[in-house]
Each structure stands twice: as structure tokens, then as C-alpha cells.
Amino acid sequence: MNEPMVSVRSLRKHYTVHKRPPGLKAAFASLFRRVPTVVKAVDGISFEIGPGERVGFLGPNGAGKTTTLKVLSGLLYPSSGEVRVDRHLPQKREDAFLKKITLVMGQKQQLLWDLPPSETFALNRAIYEVPVPQFRQTVAELTELLELGDLVSKPTRTLSLGERMKCELAAALIHRPTVLFLDEPTIGLDVSMQVTIRSFIKAYNERTGATLILTSHYMDDVAALTQRVIVIDKGVLSYDGALDELARRVRPEKRLVLQLDSPVDRATLEALGRVVSVDAAGAVLQVPQESVAPVVSRALATLPVGDLTVENAPLEEVMSELFSRSRAERAEVEDAA
């Protein structure tokens, strides 16, 4: 394949922290003697991302996702390993590199607080040296795609969280970056706003061919936006591939959602498969992949089924299973050692 947009080889990022034990006596003692510990935020990760790809980083909190993102954007220097973005070394923080990327952090903002977002746009135009005609066109497109309307003329502090996030995104894209790093972009937003932001990001990627790297706790973000996921857990890459493949591997079972015309007792349901939930209106059963067809025909034959759908296990569950499984495996290893 031609030159990858992002290439990471054996990335390691280690920190030295000092433990702070609880209690008054220990706190006094720590004044004189500190215990240093090495934290391996990222411990040997390698992957490549091609131009225009949409990739999601998944992993439990503290897994190393945000650290990796910060290394890719040049905010952190790797302890070892090689990282390249569009052939640049991020840590050099060359102007040419900085003009090609953008980092949007859901928890931090770049919009000027007391002024309207339009002023931040103008500021970014000047800093990124965007020619005025292109700037006007970009702002018009973004205003239309994000349905900003007159939000951009109101002081940022008067906007709601969702409106602010939309304007944040717009401000981050004024210079038409070709690589987008998004760190929890939909955090704290209501469902409809999440949908809006997701469809915008997807549209932007399709229109401009920008490469997208996203971290998020919301599985819907990942499912809607990314074709490929990289799972990082405790600083190590544990999976790199398509999301549904991952789901199939971790939870190779299907869910049967039954709408029942009249209540059925639990024992009868348990004969068909594992009961996830049951109430007056219906039941949800979990059934291995291979058994789906026979169970469906038996259910239709023996139960008062009003409606029946076959679904994949919810991604949230798949993910938490994946992480708890790996944690349990690690605990076993640690116990054994």
C-alpha cells in the first residue's frame, strides 16, 4: 500500500510517579522520603493508518488511549519507539505538521470564553494563515453542516454544552486539517446532539478524505463512525481490526428479542436459551450463533410470539466483557506469579 498517514512502531511511554500513601503519619514521612514507581502508560504499541481511514481507539479508562493520541499530536514525547504522522515527527512540532492536524478534546475547549465563536474563528484564520476566500467558504460550509445559525455571534459562555461543542468542532476545522484527533468529542452531550455531531464528522470525512482517529466511551460513536477499531488495554494493543469481528469474537452469541402475547414461565424460556430478561410483555434470550435457526423455529412453534427479532449483543456489554476478561486473565497471571 502507499505511504501510511499514521505509522506507530513500538511506542512506549513511561512515567515516574511518587506514591502518596494515606494517613497523617505517612504524609509526614513522605516529606523526607518518596517511593518512585514507573507507570507504563503505553508499553509497546504498533499500528498503521492509511489516509482517509476512520479508526477508533477503545479501552478502559487509563488504558493509554489519550496518551497515544497526545503522542500522535506532538504534545507528549515517546519514551521510545517511532511515531510518524504524514511523514512528520510529531514531537518536532513543525508548523507544517501543526497546520495539518487538529485535536478536539471533549473536556477542554479552545473557544475564547467571553467572546463569540466567530472571534475564535478569525483568530484561527490568522494563526493558521488561511486565505480569506477559503476561510469564508469553510465557515459557510461548517455553519451549514453543523446548523450553527447565529450561534457564532453569541459569547461562548452563553451557549449550552451542545452548542459549544458544535462551535468547538467548527473552530477546530477552520484550517481544513487532513488528520483529525478526537478525544471523547461527545462526552456529556444529549443523545440528539451526539447524533448530530456523529453525522457531521462522518460527512466531513467523506467530503474531505481527512483521516480520523477517535477515542470514545460511547459505543455508538465508535459503531457509527469507525470502520476499524484498535483496542488498547493497560498500554498494550490487544486487537486491531473491524468492530463486528471483535464483537463476534468476544461474544459470539445472538440475542433473541421476543414479544409475547401472553406471559410464559421462566422455565420454558430457559429450555430455549439463557434468559437475559423477562417481563409481562416479552423476553430477551441469549443464544449461541449456531443455535439461532433451530431456537427460532422452536420458539415460533411453541410460544405465543407476537414479534421476534434477532440482534447482536449490545456493544457496551461486549466491551465491558472484553475488558473484564482481560483484567481477570491478568489477575490470574499475577496470582500465579
Binding site: 502518596r20 497523617l24 509526614f28 513522605s30 516529606l31
Partner: protein, 265 residues
């Protein structure tokens, strides 16, 4: 379970968490004390220079003026160690919107908020104050009279109460004005005038510093008490003034909280 006992226990808990917090930032722990000391020492230089050039200023000699500066330093120590840290935390609460947590607790908000943070290592200035007093009396060639000392002790209580009340008034303004770090800066800038005997100021300014922002009651009057030359009217005004300001600040605080809880979303 008496209310007093309860508040005493609360106080102990608050102090303990302050100390723990302070110990966490180990560099700060040592540095804070040193910086306080440094500020005090550098602040004495102007005093020294003025009296080096002129033996008596506004009826005060160097030794006598040192007493005033000593009182100022002592009050600064109380301000920096016991009052400032907690009340600055209130400002943070208001800014971050976490004051609601304080208001939801079943104890008086003003008490909780005033005892939230103590930084006792800033009390190095207490020692400095004692040193300044010592130097002052050495220069004067005599010590304080017994009656004078008793009066001074009483005035310590009123001075602390006044300082605290003025601070509460300043912080209450935070409920009306969003960015208040400036207001605390303003307070400190005005309070700085208290390091000089109030007689240095004339006319309107002296009136303001005696009745409106009663700095005179906090540093000049106690020093005069120690020197045995405090007028009885001044003593009376100190006691009355402290009471008035305590009452006023409590009312303003309660009014501000009421406005906050009814206005916040």
C-alpha cells in the same frame, strides 16, 4: 449531642484535612513559610528608610512605628494562615458551581466555608511580629505597661473579628460579581495601608481608615494601647466598631446566600 460539641468536632476534622492537603505539596509546605517571611522582611525596608531619613513622622518615632508594623504582621499571619485560604476556596466554589454541596450540608454555611482550609505554616509571621515588637520596645527603652498589654490583648480579639468581618464582606461580593480574584487583591492592597500609623494619613483618608474601612482599629489603636496612650473613646469605638462590622457582615452574608440559592439554576 450539643451544637457546640458538634462544631468543635467539625473544626478538628477541617483542620486535619487542611494539614493533609498541605503535606501533599511538600515543596509548598516549606516554601510558603519562607515566602511569608521574605515578604515581611522586605516590607520593613521602607519603614526603615523613612525613619532613617526623618526621626519622627506624624508624631511617631521609629520604635513606636515598629509596634504598628508588628500588629500589621500579626494580623497578616492570621489572615494568611486562617482566613485567606478558606475564603479563597469559597471563590473557587462559586466559580465552579460546587458551593451547592456546601449549602446542602446540615451545618452553617459560613462556618463550614470559613474553616475549610487552614495553612498554619504561614504563621511564621507570628514570630516575626513578636520580633518586631521586641525591637520596637528595645528602641523605646521600656516595655509595655500591664494595663496597656491587657487592652492590647482585648484589641487583638476585636482586630481579628474586624479582619474576618471585612473579609466576609469582600467575599459576599463574589456572589454578585463573577470574577473575584481581583476583589481579594483589592482587599490586600487596601489592607496594606494598615502597616502605617493612621496619623500618617490626613483628612478624608484618615476618616475613611478610622470609620469606613477601620484599619486604624486593627493596627494603630492596639499599638497605642501597648504604649499606654490609647484614648478611652478610641478603645470604646474599637469594641463597638468590631461588633457593628460583625453584625453587618453576617447580615450581608446571609442576604448574599439567599440571593444565590434563589438565583442559581
Amino acid at each position: 449531642m450539643s451544637t457546640l460539641g458538634r462544631y468543635w468536632r467539625l473544626l478538628r476534622v477541617q483542620v486535619r484535612s487542611s494539614v493533609l492537603l498541605g503535606l501533599q505539596y511538600r515543596a509548598d509546605f516549606a516554601l510558603d513559610g519562607l515566602v511569608s517571611l521574605f515578604w515581611t522582611l522586605t516590607a520593613v525596608i521602607p519603614l526603615f528608610t523613612v525613619f532613617h531619613l526623618r526621626g519622627t513622622v506624624a508624631g511617631w518615632t521609629f520604635g513606636e512605628a515598629l509596634l504598628v508594623t508588628g500588629w500589621f504582621t500579626l494580623l497578616e499571619a492570621i489572615l494568611e494562615g486562617a482566613i485567606n485560604p478558606s475564603l479563597t476556596a469559597v471563590v473557587e466554589h462559586i466559580r465552579k458551581g460546587t458551593l451547592d454541596f456546601v449549602l446542602l450540608k446540615p451545618a452553617d454555611a459560613q462556618f463550614l466555608v470559613s474553616t475549610a482550609r487552614f495553612e498554619p505554616w504561614r504563621s511564621t509571621n507570628v514570630v516575626t511580629a513578636l520580633v518586631l515588637w521586641g525591637l520596637g520596645f528595645v528602641r523605646l527603652g521600656h516595655g509595655p505597661s500591664l494595663l496597656g498589654s491587657l487592652a492590647a490583648l482585648l484589641l487583638l480579639v476585636t482586630a481579628t473579628a474586624l479582619l474576618y468581618s471585612l473579609w466576609i464582606l469582600t467575599v459576599s461580593a463574589a456572589f454578585y460579581v463573577v470574577k473575584i480574584d481581583n476583589l481579594t487583591n483589592l482587599f490586600n492592597s487596601i489592607f496594606d495601608a494598615a502597616r502605617w500609623p493612621v496619623q500618617v494619613f490626613r483628612g478624608l483618608l484618615r476618616w475613611i481608615f478610622t470609620f469606613l474601612i477601620p484599619l486604624a482599629l486593627m493596627t494603630t489603636f492596639p499599638a497605642e494601647a501597648m504604649l499606654g496612650r490609647l484614648a478611652p473613646t478610641a478603645l470604646a469605638w474599637s469594641l463597638v466598631g468590631a461588633g457593628v462590622f460583625a453584625w453587618l457582615s453576617r447580615r450581608v452574608w446571609l442576604r448574599s446566600i439567599a440571593r444565590y440559592t434563589s438565583a442559581s439554576s
